[in-house]
Amino acid sequence: MYEHLETAENRDSLKRVVVDPVSRVEGHGKVTLLLDADNKVQQARLHIVEFRGFERFIQGRPYWELPVLVQRLCGICPVSHHLAAAKAIDQLVGIDPENLPVSADKLRRLLHFGQVLQSHALHFFHLSSPDLLFGFESDISKRSIVAVLSEYPEIGVQGVKLRKYGQEVIRMVSGKRIHGTGAIAGGMNKSLTKAERDYLLEDIDQMITWAEGSVALIKKVHCSNLPYYDDFATIRTNYLGLTKPDGALELYHGGIRAKNEHGETIMDHIDYCKYNDYIHEEVRSWTYMKFPYLLSLGQEQGWYRVGPLARVNNCDYIDTPLAEAARVEFKAHSGEAMVHSTLAFHWTRLIEVLHCAESIKQLLNDPDIMGSDLVAQGEKRYEGVGVIEAPRGTLFHHYQVDENDIVTKANLIVSTTSNNMAMNESVRQVAAEYLSGRELTEPLLNNLEVAIRAYDPCLSCATHAVGKMPLQLELVDAEGNLIDKLVKHSDGQIERNNA
């Protein structure tokens, strides 16, 4: 269960850290803080190297490989890539979402709910909950899963089981817990047998109860120190995501909706195949990661946040009763049209866990998931766009193929890229608050970790246990001189490296 805490595994990676300084730096998240002439943090730069070469990797391959190939792009939410690619290649065989066989559509939704459930459960219970339960300033030794397990035994176990349940849903639909198959162009390669369906039904009520409990817990934690939770790393932003035609929360398929910080609609029900007309990606010299923004608002104003906070903020309601009640409470707590608290990502993540559990139950009780009409086919097309709400936010896959079915062009916007600007801003916020003078400190480092983690970015550094996110922090003055450097390794050890 606790793969990432296995001592043996850790020991191996530690060894590598010692012998190979290059891999050590690459595995680290890197943050540069740029000061102005008054020693105030003017800009924060989160350097991300992971998303290079996607496109090259895919070009030249036949399109039907895409849903399986792209699962390997990101070890963290393979099913989301699988489904986004499948939605795109549906179009290459002439199938639009409304023409997908009903059973295939429902099976994909079931698969996706399983993925979001397991991903969110992993993030909250394994990575974030110690922080939230014990407070960020608490003793480092307490900030570990072990501590949660001993002091809140039921929560730890429930988190593990919720995640496991999500993985079982994935396994039943796609054949494997990770890197299964399932979705193919125009449909699915299998449906559920009655035995598989019954197996999943067995535990679903328990999962719903636990998910409800986790929402109650996070609400308690959040409201126990409202000023702190509402203000930490908080930025007022636009929000973007898919919604259903009637404005309900949607994870698998819908139109693009964007709202501004006041909750006013910037755009709604946009056909995602035309995303290029609305979203552009800015390139900056210091990072490979692009900065997407809404064309209508421009580069300065047009950046936005995606993910659970964006989705729960953006939607008019949630179509499962318990999650809807949780959403209403969540919205009410701030008294504002939109909740901007960055730590509220955690709260909304758990509201979605509840929604997933409720939705899984609905689907399991729907005979269509055992149907046999699974694949449809139409006229060949040369371009396809698939967009999905991945656990971390809106995920875009866009492909072009030639007459031989070979991919000639690919463009992907992953959720973490959409949150790029926001993460940099949140980091700047926290730095501005916790940096005093010209020296980097350990509390600053820890708080930066908490801010980055709230977004649940799909970065390898973010998969380490809490307090052990390998992070390299640099302070650069107005003249461009490196004046301080602090490195935290994946064993939690801190190393100062004065310039």
């Binding site: 036949p62 399986v68 190939l69 390997r72 390669n189 299998k190």
Partner: protein, 239 residues
């Protein structure tokens, strides 16, 4: 009184004209192989079927059975050799099982599992090889060709065509098609040809069919290659 050989001590009858492979398969004894299929003339190129006959290494698929031969098959030494040969096949091409549509149905992969091959052992060559997707129905991914010549033989012997040939030697060896353009679309290949369905790896594929068989229903999901091979091929050997 029929003639016999022994394989790992087991007495096995054979008829004149049979190879050691034929006799073994007919008797339900599995000898690992990749370039051999009972319906085609043996080629003896992959060397996976190497056995020891009276102390000497021989390819079971080409070596005739002779009365009184003592054949060793499942010795640790031979198993280790076969594993090395399989590892070489892997590193010489680009066999990236996780993304390959043949996974679960691939003989190369299944043999590797059977031999308990856990890594590549040798450094990968990462050769630059192409995909020929020019044909409307059939695709060649040269990255996965192991030069077993089964497609060459199938096209010639069964389909009455000569779509494929092997050209070059050693590291320059490659599969070519019989067309001036070098493209499959300019040959007389048809998706119904035997040659389109014979490839033991994922090098020759029927387009747009990948991943249609769900995990759990693929050939090697629940059975090892020896079981599958004996169940599907041994009758043909007995013919």
């Amino acid at each position: 009184m029929s003639k016999t050989i022994t394989i790992d001590g087991k007495v096995i009858p054979f008829e004149d004209g049979q190879t050691i492979m034929d006799a073994a398969m007919a008797a339900g004894v599995y000898i690992p192989h990749l370039c051999h299929q009972p319906e085609f003339t043996p080629h003896g190129s992959c060397k996976l079927c190497t056995v020891k006959v009276n102390g000497r290494n021989c390819s079971a698929c080409t070596y005739p059975a002779m009365d009184g031969q003592e054949v060793l098959n499942e010795t640790q030494e031979l198993i280790d050799d076969r594993k090395r040969i399989t590892q070489m096949l892997f590193v010489e091409g680009n066999h990236l099982c996780p993304g390959c549509e043949k996974t679960g149905n691939c003989q190369l992969q299944a043999v590797a599992y059977h031999l308990n091959m856990l890594d590549n052992h040798f450094p990968a060559f990462y050769p630059e090889r192409e995909v020929d997707a020019s044909h409307p129905e059939v695709m060649i991914d040269h990255n996965r060709c192991i030069f077993c010549t089964l497609c060459v033989r199938a096209s010639h012997e069964k389909d009455g065509k000569d779509v494929f040939a092997i050209s070059g030697r050693g590291i320059h060896k490659h599969l070519i098609v019989n067309a001036e353009s070098g493209l499959l679309k300019d040959t007389d290949m048809a998706a119904t040809d035997h040659a389109a369905h014979i490839c033991p790896t994922g090098a020759i594929l029927i387009k747009r069919t990948g991943y249609q068989v769900p995990i759990g229903e693929r050939i090697y999901d629940h059975k090892e290659i020896d079981q599958v091979s004996l169940a599907t091929e041994h009758l043909k050997h007995g013919e």
